[in-house]
């Protein structure tokens, strides 16, 4: 393998002068380049083929585009007999051949031709080279593709063809895109500093990722060690003091890398050197058994150094002296100081705007997380908040709703329709489950809250295992309809997926529903009466059993609907519910039990908090949850009754 690569490199070296010698002009040039680099082309690899492709692209030969296109499409072939290249067009019994200079060259049977099969890397290079030809392609789609390709992999060579194609552009959208791209290229590859600075300034505080991507290389720096002061021409970002701006070891490594100082002895090298000089059970006068500590090993090595058997290694004072004697600096890769200054300023400008936008994006994220928590908790706000019944199986009702959605999708393949069917069905299923649970279990435990908590745990364990037995442990998909795919993109920073918007709307709907139910309906009135004083309510002709059953059913039913909504963006597993149960209870408790606005406030607080903590440490959502729970525990110290607390004697003790 290595052999082959060496061979390639050799060929490449031979080919280089020829490539360099071919100026951009004249017809037939492309064919010549192809022939000159026959071996390279035949066995093209991404590492070696670059110069050939560039030469083709720069040749100015109109057939170059055709050759490259054919090559990319695997329609370039080599005749086995003489190694000549041809553009291939498949016919019934072989290929119709076209010579690289554009003339027809008859046909050939398949067996006579070796097709060139460039790999993905090579095809990428070809595509880039082809871009400039396609910028003026009559097909707008091809032009758009070319622009995308340039934007992905910009090169200095693109600037001129791009500029040339702007005036002829007819499509206004593409024209704007071309102009933007032209400025992007100009700021990197512009001929003069002034031109580049103008291009940088023209973007103002633009939020595009592309502009940040283009500016960042301009301000990229490299740490360099200098024997004396940095050369006058260098574009210095700052000088570094070892120990404060740069760790000493790193600074010394720079010196070693620049061949300005001898390498330090690594422990491995020391061990190897000592082991190699083991004579009669001792090294440098130190007994082998004593070499089990670092000072002893250092002593032995020093002894060897003195004896001249091992090369001297830098000692600490020497390192210190070397660090003192040299200067270290961060140097911009970009040589022009004015350009880097302009880029810095532009990045700072953009950074401020990006910061503001990130806050907006974070707020949207927090809002959407809050809606999810609110949705998961609203059923609890009814069963726990209003009825004071602890239902630890609430999470499993959410799961039940999600699985209902999944089962519905098994039968109804139209996703929109299936969601429309699943929502009421999930409500019905979990309503029934809630009513059954209330009648069979909870009713008998109304005076024993801790026991309710435990009994519903039992149900939760059983329901989870049943779901696992039926649906298996792997996640089941609950697919959102296509119109909920994608995201609402405000700019490169702020975006929110449609599913999250839908969940937000759903949360609002439920808030409205809850308020309407409790404040405007007979049922709500009776529920409030029963919760405040069951005996009195009963004497007024309200059947508390019926009310409790209905309330619990509605609370559970809402959990079912929440399950469908949550299932749309989370994986549906039997553990879906238990992932939300603690957060749901926290939402209700933090908000203040018995108050829907409290639940809303709790959801907002927890959502914002979690996103806020995640923002500080984006890689670690687990830690964010940990810190959030700790925060809640501390929060409860200060507001034991939640954000919106019932006050006075009514709140009990």
């Amino acid at each position: 393998m290595r052999h082959i690569i060496h061979a390639f490199l050799a060929v490449l070296l031979l080919a280089l002068p020829q490539i360099a010698a071919s100026p951009a002009r004249a017809e037939g040039e492309a064919a010549a380049i192809l022939t000159q680099n026959r071996d390279l082309v035949a066995k093209a690899s991404r590492q070696t083929i670059g110069p050939v492709i560039d030469a083709l692209a720069a040749s100015g030969d109109p057939t170059a585009a055709q050759i490259l296109t054919a090559w990319e499409a695997r329609r370039l072939g080599q005749r086995k007999s003489d190694g000549a290249f041809f553009l291939l067009a498949p016919t019934a019994d072989g290929y119709a051949l076209t010579a690289p200079d554009g003339t027809a060259a008859g046909t050939a049977p398949k067996a006579d031709i070796t097709e060139l099969k460039p790999n993905a890397g090579v095809r990428g290079l070809i595509a880039t080279a082809l871009v400039q030809f396609t910028l003026s392609d009559p097909d707008p789609a091809a032009r758009a593709a070319a622009l995308t390709s340039i934007a992905r992999d910009p090169a200095a060579a693109h600037l001129e063809p791009l500029r040339a194609s702007i005036d002829g552009e007819t499509d206004p959208a593409l024209k704007a895109q071309k102009q933007r791209l032209e400025r992007l290229l100009a700021l990197q590859y512009g001929a003069s500093a002034a031109e580049r600075i103008a291009a940088i300034e023209s973007f103002g505080a633009d939020l595009g990722l592309d502009i940040r991507g283009a500016l960042n290389p301009l301000v990229a720096t490299k740490r360099i060690a200098y024997a004396a002061n940095p050369p006058a021409g260098a574009n210095l970002a700052r000088t570094l003091t070892p120990g404060t701006d740069i760790p000493r070891t790193e600074a010394y490594d720079l010196l070693v890398a620049a061949n300005l100082a001898p390498a330090r002895l690594t422990p491995e090298e020391q061990t190897a050197a000592l082991a190699a000089n083991l004579v009669n059970g001792s090294v440098g006068g130190v007994a082998l058994a004593d070499l089990n500590s670092q000072p002893a090993r250092d002593r032995a090595y020093t002894a060897l150094e003195t004896a001249g058997t091992v090369p001297p290694a830098a000692t600490d004072p020497e390192v210190e002296a070397a660090l003192q004697a040299h200067t270290f600096a961060e140097v911009y890769a970009e040589p022009d100081a004015e350009v880097t200054a302009a880029a810095q300023a532009a990045l700072k400008r953009i950074g401020l705007t990006v910061g503001a936008m990130q806050v907006a994006d974070l707020s949207l994220d927090a809002l959407s997380l809050a809606s999810i928590y609110f949705l998961a908790a609203i059923g609890l706000a009814i069963t726990f908040g209003v009825m004071r019944v602890i239902n630890m199986a609430h999470g499993e009702f959410i799961m039940l709703g999600a699985y209902t959605g999944y089962v519905v999708q098994l039968f109804i393949t139209n996703y929109t329709l299936s969601i429309i069917v699943a929502l009421p069905l999930a409500f019905a299923v979990t309503f029934a489950a809630g009513v059954a649970m209330e009648r069979l279990v909870i009713r008998h435990l109304y005076k024993r809250p801790l026991e309710t908590l435990l009994a519903t745990f039992g149900i939760s364990i059983a329901l989870q295992q049943i779901a696992k037995n039926i649906f298996g442990t792997q996640a089941r998909p609950l697919t959102a309809p296509a119109w909920l795919d994608g995201a609402w993109v405000l700019n490169d920073v702020v975006s929110i997926s449609y599913i999250r918007i839908a969940i937000f709307v759903l949360a609002l709907l439920f808030l409205g529903f809850f308020l309407w139910l409790m404040k405007r309906t007979r049922l709500g009135l009776e529920v409030r009466a029963v919760t405040q004083n069951p005996a009195m309510a009963a004497s007024m002709g309200i059947n508390p059993d019926r009310i409790n059953m209905l309330t619990f059913g509605i609370g559970s039913g809402i959990a079912g609907i929440a399950g469908v909504a949550i299932g749309l963006f989370a994986k549906v597993t039997s553990e879906l519910g238990s992932d939300y149960i603690v957060q749901s209870f926290m939402t209700v408790v933090v908000g203040g039990v018995g108050n829907i606005w409290g639940t809303l406030a709790g959801a907002l607080l927890i959502g914002t908090l979690q996103k806020g903590i995640e923002w500080f440490n984006p890689s670690n959502t687990l830690a964010a949850q940990t810190y959030m729970i700790i925060f809640i525990i501390i929060f409860i110290q200060f507001r034991p009754r939640g954000i919106i607390a019932l006050k006075g004697r009514a709140a009990g003790d």
């Binding site: 670092q294 005076k447 024993r448 149900i459 405040q532």
Partner: protein, 410 residues
Amino acid sequence: MTKGFLAKNPSILIFLAALAAFTLLVTLGSEALGLSFISTSMVKTLGKILCLCLVALAMDLVWGYAGILSLGHMAFFAVGGYMIGMWLMYARTEEIVIAALAQSPLPATPEEIRQGIATQIFGVVGASDFPPIWAFAHSLPLQLILALAVPGLLALVFGWLAFRSRVTGVYLSILTQAMTLALSLYLFQNDSGLRGNNGLSGLQNIPGIGEPSQAAVSLWLFWASALALACGYVLLAWLVSGKLGSVIRAIRDDEQRVRFLGYSVESYKLFLFTLTAILAALAGVLYYPQAGIINPAELAPIASIYLAVWVAIGGRGRLYGAVIGAALVTLLSSWFTGGRVPDIPLGFATLKWVDWWLVLLGFGFVAVTLFAPQGVGGLVDKLQGLRNPDRKGAPLGPDDGSLQEKEAVE
């Protein structure tokens, strides 16, 4: 004092005798020095069950006697396990590393050994340095102290915060559950310093005692667990039989009234919460060397819920109830999930107990809560002909008494 402590509590002697007989039986039957009718893995299972009985005792004290339904005691149990696991893993890896470094031409330096251990242990989470929390992992006594002190301190701080703000009843349960969840999520991270979700493993190899057979090690640990259970039982029985027991049962039944008697309810709760956390940690210290592995899933909130289930099934407010409950449920559980129960063909499908045991347990637990709130221990009362006085519906005792649910009173 009219009667001695043991004379007043005959159940202690019965319990100790039963435990001694059981220990003797297992010893004789073990592969290490007996008739080999109990396999080593069974000895480990039984030893683990003894540890679970101990943590159930702690749970019974804090819930059955003091009315605090803590859903965090398995977290203390697991933290204790982690702490001892750190030493086990460190010391074991140290032996391996030293053996490996003995092959190299030079005798190893302490730095090399430490680096080798760190690479071995943390390679799996892509780190090669010891996190600060491993500072004492090299020393068994220090780590043993930590194994009890860390959960104790955790319980002290959490309890102080929770009790100070008078969080009671279901709120406290939810808060303790949240604490457990926070701990487990924290440990799931790779940079928690405890190997993330890989947890600590290889704990069944006890370092520093040569290469004894697992059969012998399992028996030793079984003895240690039995001893710890016996001591724990006597300690708690002594604790609840005195005036302190009186006060904590009074707290369970009417916390406010106890305050007006001049007892600082919060400090009692804090004392109990911390004490039981330390007991739970002790159980964890003995449990995990027998289990061999510990990972953050061990302190998922569900584990603490199972603990409550054991105590409830065994019967709250009586120490032997907790032991019976933990032993019964865990034995049944290992019997059902071990595939030793014949599956039931139902014609259209087969009822596999491995899958359906949890369903049975869940519903069984609901049934116990509904129909036998006294648990299995209630049967003992029936046998002894003890009846609680007919209270005509008023609350009494560990079952009804622990429902002093102040928040629910509007």
